[in-house]
Amino acid sequence: MTPTVLLGRLLRPLAAIVAAFVVSAAVYQLTGYSVVTILRGAIDGSIGSPDALTSSLRWSIPLLLIGLGVAVAFKAGYYNVGGQGQMYMGALASLTVGLYGDGRSAVLFVPLSILAGIVAGALWSLIPGLLKIYLGADEVVTTLMMNFIAVLFLEWAAAGPLKSGAGSGQAATTRALAPGYRLSDGSGVSPQLAILAAVVLFAVWVFVRRTRTGLDIVLVGRNPVMASWQGIGVSRIGLLVFAVSGGSAGLAGVLETFGPAGAISAGFSPDVGFVGVIVALVGGLDPLAVVLTALFFGGLRAATLYMAITTDLPQSALDLLNGLVALLITARLLPRAWNLRRRRRTGAVRVEEDVTPTAEVAT
């Protein structure tokens, strides 16, 4: 990748972020908040102090894991947007195993819980995966629906079989894990968590960039018909990426449960699944770039929570910014002239080729 190509790739996400900042700043100003105060709050809350940095890292971890999974699935051309539900199922499965262990031998039960979470996330993802690959059901719709189902399932589990007795309905919380099982304290950052996240990152990078299967994924994403002519098992690759992205999101749920939370509340981290998709897209589906974008959005989230406590700025102020970034992220910088000409000829709405390869096998 030459420097100019790299710059070109970075320019678009940066432009989208800047444009989103400008629009939200205008909204803040119009509704009577000072942009300077907000910017200072954002910096203080994300990188301004050791605590702020810890908080940024803590929120980057789930985004990184979900984003990496999304990147792999999107690279193969499968639009798995079910990270939220897969994360919830991972969290639930790991918590169930963890509660069953009930403080007995952490050496056995913690790895077992982690494994259960990854498997649960992968299985939850494989349901729409199988429907997509063998029956052609649109995966955007089915993964979205699986999210809603998982949200309700978590609500039921937290208020029913696993409940702690405190809270009710949508705010229900499960029983807490034995302290000996926890991978970090409430801050959500610890060597164990960092090592786990780094291992996943390294594994995904090696997998995508340095293995035959990784190359197959890219080829399937570019052109599934051509890939199948070249002897690549397109169905196998499809199932694989669904499992990988689901397992990664499941692990995000495990780390949330065994890390900062220690228990599950119904509907925790409600938008982390969608933000994970944005993280992957802003990072151009490149594992290493995803680290940077996960840190950026993690910092944004930390800043949001910080400002809601220290200032009177609504917590939703940065949700707005998040949404606007997502809105602009796949748009071109400028309508290019040659491109306009081509579009006039066909009059068609196209999908951005390099970022979001198509999944459709010509039938």
Partner: protein, 301 residues
């Protein structure tokens, strides 16, 4: 039973209105995942304006204007800046949650709910017998029924409808036949925006008469899937939307005391499970008939 039908009609109306909007977009080849955001925005603007000015009608008009403008921006993004339709739609929904929650706090200083001075008028109230099914339904429920028929006529019996279908199904041929694809998409999205504004207004003003944070709770996505479930046909879409209304009605009723049969959460899962089944079945059927899926049209042209 009659109460259940009445609740279901009321719960189904916002979904139906948004689904009609989604259907126009879908017919033009745009898989519109932004319905949720537009609906929420419509609900907020209606209630906020009504709370400030005291006029529900002004609120409704302003909601339509804003939703149409946002739809035009959406159209420009996917048409001139080649943004990914699905991601941008999803982002529109996320931004809808963000901006309404933000404005709720910034303007009204609350994270809870704001009250509208009054609800929508109900043409029939105090009915007896079987007619109680139609008791206290807002004027927009009746409008939704009429709009369904109008949509059917527009799409199935006019040149406009034929052209719209051509744009969605085969833009290249449509272009060859002299149809302006971009303009047709714009019209469809504008219609979708206006209908979503109505959907939001109905949601906020029919039973609760207030706006609360993220009050759509996935109804826009249900509307989106009602379109798929109804195979993009106005009557099918309306039936699917009302089915979701029925499922929600059942959920509401179960919260009122059917808990011992099945937890409420599982009742609420029914529409989502049905959607997955329906999407799968329709894809299998379409594959067998050798017809390309509508979504394929969108993904790559």
């Amino acid at each position: 039973m009659i109460e259940l039908l009445n609740t279901s009609l009321q719960a189904g109306t916002p979904i139906l209105l948004a689904a009609l909007g989604g259907m126009f977009a879908h017919r033009a080849g745009v898989l519109h995942l932004g319905l949720e955001g537009l609906m929420l925005l419509g609900a907020f603007i209606t209630v906020a304006t009504a709370a400030k000015t005291g006029s529900v009608l002004t609120g409704l008009a302003l909601a339509i204007v804003v939703d149409v403008l946002v739809s035009v921006v959406f159209w420009a993004l996917i048409t001139y800046l080649d943004a990914n339709v699905m991601i941008t739609g999803l982002a529109l929904s996320m931004s809808g949650v963000g901006i309404t929650s933000y404005l709720l706090e910034a303007i009204f200083g609350t994270q809870g709910a704001i009250q509208a001075p009054r609800g929508l008028p109900a043409p029939v109230s105090g009915a007896h017998g079987v007619l109680r099914v139609f008791d206290n339904l807002s004027v927009l429920t009746w409008a939704a029924a009429i709009l369904t028929v109008i949509s059917w006529f527009l799409l199935r019996r006019t040149r406009f409808g034929l052209r719209l279908a051509a744009v969605g199904e085969d833009p290249f041929s449509a272009r060859g036949a002299g149809v302006k694809n971009d303009r047709m998409r714009l019209l469809a999205l504008v219609a979708g925006g206006a209908l979503c504004a109505l959907a939001g207004a109905e949601l906020a003003l029919s039973s609760v008469q207030s706006f609360s944070e993220n009050m759509t709770q996935g109804r826009g996505f249900l509307a989106f899937t009602a379109v798929l479930l109804g195979m993009r046909h106005p009557i099918g879409t309306a039936a699917a939307a009302l089915f979701f209304g029925l499922a929600e009605g059942l959920g509401i009723q179960s919260q009122l005391g059917l808990d011992h049969l099945l937890p409420a959460q599982f009742v609420l899962m029914i529409p989502y499970v049905c959607t997955i089944v329906a999407v799968t079945v329709s894809s299998v059927l379409a594959g067998r008939r050798g017809v390309a899926l509508p979504s394929v049209v969108e993904k790559r042209l």
